[in-house]
């Protein structure tokens, strides 16, 4: 008999808990009208960053990102000028192959490549996922990034003495490639990260890219 009373009590308890949620506000957002404000570090599309003033690409074709990509999604086409210095001709990223791991972003010492917090780039054909230099640069135009203070390369002493640590970050994040340049320091106040409630971007019609 006691088991029966227990059973009824717990069944009612279950009803109560679900009933309790009836009054609460829904927490889902209606996607096309409201968009989820992605945190500043979230890794979306691969983009090439360019200098704000001169509009020139930061990339110095050092091929480090191409080597560090686990799925060989990056292909850099370059030709050498007379002094043997590489001139960047084309920078191809196949977003079909890319696994958005961010290893290229970490391998780059010149803040030339960054995974922007954008995700709306689905296409109907696989070939459209292969992006070339023009598109990568155009999408990367409005992506904020940390400009690195680079001393003149020849003035650098032979031993790669770590550059003076900038005071902006309380705990500097060193890069894996031995140099102590701070690329993406822990400071993330470039874009205010969304508080608990998703910041609702106003009526945004999907960007017009192809």
């Amino acid at each position: 008999m006691k088991k029966l009373i227990d059973a009824i009590k717990n069944l009612a308890l279950g009803l109560l808990t679900t009933g309790k949620h009836l009054g609460r506000r829904a927490i889902t957002i209606q996607y096309p009208t409201e968009k989820w404000q992605m945190p500043e570090r979230s890794r979306g599309i691969v983009t090439l960053l360019s200098d704000k003033e001169t509009g020139k690409l930061n990339c110095t074709t050092c091929l480090l990102c191409e080597r560090s990509c686990p799925t060989a999604a990056i292909k850099i086409v370059y030709d050498k000028d007379e002094k043997g210095k590489r001139i960047l001709k084309d920078f191809i990223v196949d977003h079909g192959l890319c696994c958005f791991c961010g290893l290229c972003q970490e391998a780059c010492n010149f803040a030339a490549i960054k995974l922007a917090p954008k995700y709306e780039f689905s296409t109907f054909e696989k070939e459209d996922l292969v992006w070339h230099i023009a598109k990568l640069q155009e999408i990367g135009r409005d992506v904020p990034y940390e400009k690195i203070e680079r001393k003149k390369p020849e003035a650098r002493p032979a031993v790669a003495k770590p550059a003076p640590k900038p005071t902006i970050a309380a705990n500097p994040a060193e890069t894996p490639t031995g140099k102590a340049h701070v690329i993406e320091s822990g400071k993330a106040d470039a874009i205010p990260v969304s508080e608990k409630k998703p910041k609702i971007v106003d009526k945004v019609e999907p960007e017009g890219e192809k």
Partner: protein
């Protein structure tokens, strides 16, 4: 403002118009059937939408929002989609059985409303064997489930069909006994008499301790099992049998099954409201509005069950019905008998 008056007036107008008595009756019956059919179609559509909204808000999400304000057009859009979908009949299916199954399901679901008292005078025909007629008709759904299971020649459908037949049969018995205890008290099986015997609020059968609430609970549990809803929704247990008996159905036939399921849900709660909560009895609102309020409240409780409880296994389900629900309903019937013929409880 009583709608029954309008129908009575229309009927006199028709009778005076000089048509032979047979034609008059025929037109009246066909008209009332059409009215009940459209009323039920609209309520079924509303129930589908309402279930999706209730389940959404229980789970802290919005539910359909895009078709019209808060998605009220959603069910109509679904219906149109289902109607224009291709209606596939499996090659090795048993063609006539496969074809007639949804039609029987739908007709069984609708004919139960012949004796349903929607309001004071609002009843299609007040048979004196009202409740017995409803129970007899609702058992037709078993045949349609079996036909669907067998007709679609698919292992999963067969398993689903067998399970649902066993389940509906075994939950029919306690349901009938629970209804019997109410009929015993009301003294007659006609739905109007049952409702009239619950004139005052303390006369509602749910408040007639000790047999009332027990009979109500038994009826509600057997009702959920009857309409194949969680925690007894074995026949189309997605996780085990993919989709149970309606796995091979698509397009219009699937829409019929889906429609029949929600009309069944409305029938179960309408009977529960009529038998235990005093049908259309109520202080100042018009009678049909009371009927709707009580029925929709019970529909809400059934939906609440669905979005809270897990599912029972087949043998546990059978065991629960035969070994637990049936003995209690018999005991309840005996108590009701004593109460009926004792001096104190007979108010």
């Amino acid at each position: 403002m009583e709608i029954a008056g309008i129908f009575k007036y229309l009927y006199e107008m028709l009778a005076k118009s000089g048509l032979p008595q047979l034609a008059v009756d025929l037109i009246a019956l066909v008209a009332s059937a059409l009215i009940v059919f459209t009323f039920l179609a609209v309520t079924a559509l509303f129930l589908v939408w309402w279930e999706r909204k209730v389940s959404a808000h229980i789970q802290q999400r919005f539910g359909p929002m895009r078709t019209g304000w808060h998605g009220w057009l959603q069910t109509i859009v679904d219906m149109i989609k289902l109607i224009q979908k291709e209606d596939i009949t499996p090659a090795t299916a048993d063609r006539p059985v496969f074809f007639w199954a949804p039609i029987i399901a739908l007709t069984a679901a609708f004919t139960a409303y012949v004796v349903m008292p929607f309001g004071k005078g609002l009843i299609v025909s007040d048979l004196n064997i009202g409740i017995l007629f409803i129970i007899a008709i609702t058992t037709f759904t078993i045949i349609s489930l079996l036909m669907a299971g067998w007709g679609s020649n698919n292992k999963y459908a067969l398993l689903g069909g067998m399970r649902s037949a066993a389940q509906v049969v075994s939950y029919e018995v306690p349901m009938v006994v629970a209804v019997l205890s109410v009929v015993l008290f009301a003294g007659s099986m006609s739905m109007m008499d049952i409702v009239n015997s619950q004139a005052k609020i303390y006369q509602w059968y749910i408040f007639r301790l000790p047999f009332g609430p027990i009979a109500f609970m038994i009826y509600l549990i057997a009702g959920t099992a009857e309409s194949n809803r969680t925690p007894f929704d074995l026949p189309e247990a997605e996780q085990e049998l993919v989709a149970g008996f309606n796995v091979e159905y698509s397009g219009m036939k699937f829409a019929m099954f889906f429609f029949a399921e929600f009309v069944n849900l409305f029938t179960i709660s309408a009977i529960a409201a009529t038998l235990f909560l005093g049908g259309w009895q109520g202080p100042f609102l018009p009678s049909w509005m009371w009927f709707m309020i009580k029925t929709l409240f019970i529909v809400f409780v059934l939906m609440w069950f669905r979005w809270t409880y897990p599912r029972l296994r087949v043998d546990q389900l059978m065991e629960f019905s035969w070994k637990f629900l049936l003995p209690i309903s018999f005991a309840n019937l005996i108590i009701a008998g004593f109460m009926k013929y004792s001096r104190w409880f007979n108010w």
